[in-house]
């Protein structure tokens, strides 16, 4: 069955590649901007970590930008997402700002979590970003619960939960998918299959090739998408979001993608678990270069305009990093704050 799955994957990926240009200029540019913002943020964050300036370290999303961009393009601030330990890209694509993000990574007071969460718990309730999560498989039960609330409160909102190929083997993911399908919840399960969980290959974690095949076991549709193609992710998500908003229930979208750097940081732990060639092969399908080729080919913009995008993003990042380093650490007196909500119990 792995074989047939393989075939399927190839098919879908192929399909995706052709689609590209179908989208409007506005959307293509939005997808591009999201990805550039993520890429530039991560490269700077990674550099800071390698310079030992980021306490506790971080997990980089570089290479996987197309997934966050393609999915989040369909969401608004009333929609929720739950993220993973690799969560910067999700927050940025959901509208996260660089200043409170860098400040959080550095443990400073103006950070999104006032310095209490850091990279692994970065979140913004205002933006509907219900948190990166240090627990693999930690986000799916929460997203399922949020999706339930959306239905219960008769909102149009959708809850999207991101998880990796490794997370797919956690019991919590199984329980959440089954409940989401059972209650027909507006919940979208986006599996970011980058082929590895830390230093374990997917083949070292499961027999199947397409995690999307598990969707059938819950009675929900499962699709495999080229996670290196933002437009393909965008189109797959469009159907899933439509389905979710109209009471059709959950969807499992598996995005085949790749992380360019180590599990942690850039150089990481120097474990020997994949080849340089493999990394190079995937980089040839870089999602940002791809969309830039598509945009220029389709005459949606010039190289100069693309350069301008980078310029302004780089400027924002520079300012944000400066802001973060200038920002104060939280006062030790804040240690015991935020454990409980002190509001009077409501009568």
């Amino acid at each position: 069955m792995s074989l047939s799955a393989n075939k399927k994957t190839k098919a879908v990926v192929a399909a995706a590649d052709e689609q590209g240009a179908g989208l409007s200029e506005e959307i293509m540019k939005a997808l591009h901007l999201k990805m550039v913002r993520i890429r530039r943020f991560e490269l700077e964050a990674g550099r800071l970590m390698e310079e030992n300036k980021v306490p506790g370290g971080l997990h980089l999303y570089v290479g996987e930008e197309a997934v966050a961009a393609g999915v989040m393009q369909h969401l608004n601030n009333e929609d929720q997402i739950t993220s993973t330990h690799r969560g910067h890209g999700h927050l940025i694509a959901k509208g996260g700002e660089f200043k409170p993000m860098f400040a959080e990574l550095l443990g400073r007071a103006p950070g999104y979590c006032r310095g209490k969460g850091g990279s692994m718990h970065i979140s913004s309730m205002e933006l509907g970003m219900l948190g990166a999560n240090g627990i693999v498989g930690g986000g799916q039960p929460i997203a399922m619960g949020a999706a339930f609330a959306n239905k219960f409160l008769k909102r149009q909102s959708v809850a999207v939960t991101f998880f990796g190929d490794g997370a797919a083997n956690e019991g919590s993911v199984h329980e959440s998918m089954n409940m989401a399908a059972l209650y027909k919840l507006p919940c979208i399960f986006v599996c970011e299959n980058n082929g590895y969980s830390e230093y374990m290959s997917q083949a070292n974690s499961m027999v199947i090739v397409d995690i999307a095949d598990r969707a059938a076991g819950y009675g929900m549709p499962g699709v495999v998408v080229d996670g290196m193609d933002a437009t393909a992710v965008y189109q797959a998500t469009e159907q899933a979001v439509e389905r979710a908003r109209t009471g059709g229930g959950p969807t499992l979208i598996e995005c085949k993608t790749y992380r360019y750097y180590d599990h942690v940081g850039m150089r990481g732990m120097g474990k020997n678990y994949r080849t340089e060639d493999e990394v190079e092969e995937w980089k040839k399908r870089d999602p940002i270069e791809a969309i830039e080729r598509q945009m220029i080919a389709a005459g949606l913009c010039s190289q100069a305009q693309i350069d301008a995008v980078y310029e302004s993003v780089n400027k924002d990042i520079e300012d944000a990093i400066q802001f973060a380093f200038d920002a104060p650490f939280p006062d030790p007196s804040e240690l015991l704050e935020d454990v409980y909500c002190e509001s009077e119990a409501r009568k």
């Binding site: 979590c113 309730m125 039960p141 619960g145 609330a149 219960f152 119990a345």
Partner: protein, 327 residues
């Protein structure tokens, strides 16, 4: 508070749940077999009254059940979810300890989780090692949640209401053997505040701090001891987190002797925290060491004969008090 009538603990829970579902449109009741009223019957008739949207069954997926509560609470609901037996906490301890208890703090206070978790603890019904445990010590050790252990019908209703009105995650740990015990329970709405101990009996010679059903055993023991001329004060903390240290210390400063009693395994149990606090804060007032009564260091045995020997009761308490007073 309106008129009261004699009600068993199980019906008092039912009363409290109806009160909450009536007053809070954004609350719902979910768990295994709740449509059928729960296997313990505390939800009998509630599904019929409030319907499929407000009261529903979940698959046997405890991680999902807690996630349902956490996620729905984070975005505007006030969920009440049920973990059928406290013994099953292990199935969802990550969702409880790493998500529910920490989300607000990790997010710098941005998240508010008004979620209530109901569960059922205790032995004495020959249900063996996996359906008889008292694991409040696991929960009390977790900053970010509150843990109520109602010992009687009045509290069972009042703490269920208080828990569901609280804007924090609250566990209400009911007790199986108490389900049938009756007492006067007011109709309508009232709260038993979390973190306020109750002095169940005043005394001058010794204070027994007893958790959940052990309060009743302590009261029985106090009667027996009274006949021996020993005046026992019985304190029911009612919630182990927050824990009402002041009321306990005040009592010890009066009686100069303390015994802590819970049904949970003594070793590593919450009684250690209570005993440690007492000697820490009332050291100069103590005429004797704080003693603890709890289950021995083994799983709950099935055989009635063994379980009888396992679970602490009034006899165990009387025996320990006599030793303390060299009677």
């Amino acid at each position: 508070m309106t008129e009261a009538r004699s009600l068993p603990y199980v019906s008092a829970i039912n009363d409290g749940l109806r009160q909450i579902l009536r007053e809070q449109d954004n609350s719902f009741l979910a768990g295994e077999d709740l449509k059928a009223g729960s296997v313990f019957g505390f939800a009998n008739g509630i599904h019929e009254k409030f319907g499929d949207e407000r009261v529903f069954d979940t698959p046997i997926s405890e991680k999902g059940i807690i996630g349902l509560g956490v996620g729905a609470a984070a975005v505007g609901c006030r969920p009440i979810v049920d973990i059928m037996y406290m013994d099953f906490l292990g199935e969802c301890m990550d969702e409880i300890a790493n998500q529910m208890a920490k989300m607000r703090y990790m997010f710098g206070g941005a998240a508010t989780l008004p979620v209530t978790v109901l569960t059922m603890a205790g032995g004495g019904m020959n249900m063996a090692a996996q359906h008889s445990q008292c694991l409040e010590a696991w929960l009390a050790h977790l900053p970010g949640i509150k843990v109520a252990c109602p010992s009687n019908a009045y509290d069972a209703k009042g703490m269920t209401i208080a828990a569901a009105r609280d804007d924090n995650p609250v566990f209400v740990v009911y007790n199986k053997l108490s389900l049938a015990t009756k007492m006067e329970v007011p109709k309508g709405s009232y709260e038993v505040p979390l973190g306020q101990a109750a002095i169940r009996r005043e005394g001058t010679d010794l204070t027994i701090v007893a958790i959940s059903r052990m309060v009743n055993e302590a009261m029985t023991a106090a009667e027996e001891l009274a006949e021996l001329g020993v005046s026992v004060e019985v304190i029911d903390p009612r919630s182990v987190s927050p824990f009402d240290t002041d009321t306990v210390i005040k009592s010890i400063k009066k009686t100069h002797r303390a015994l802590v009693a819970h049904e949970a395994v003594k070793f590593g149990g919450f009684g250690g925290e209570i005993a440690a606090q007492i000697q820490e804060l009332a050291f100069d007032y103590l005429d004797a060491p704080v003693m603890r009564v709890g289950a021995p260091f083994c799983p709950v045995p099935f055989s009635p004969e063994l379980e009888k020997a396992y679970i602490p009761d009034a006899k165990t308490i009387v025996k320990t008090v006599k030793e303390m007073l060299a009677l």
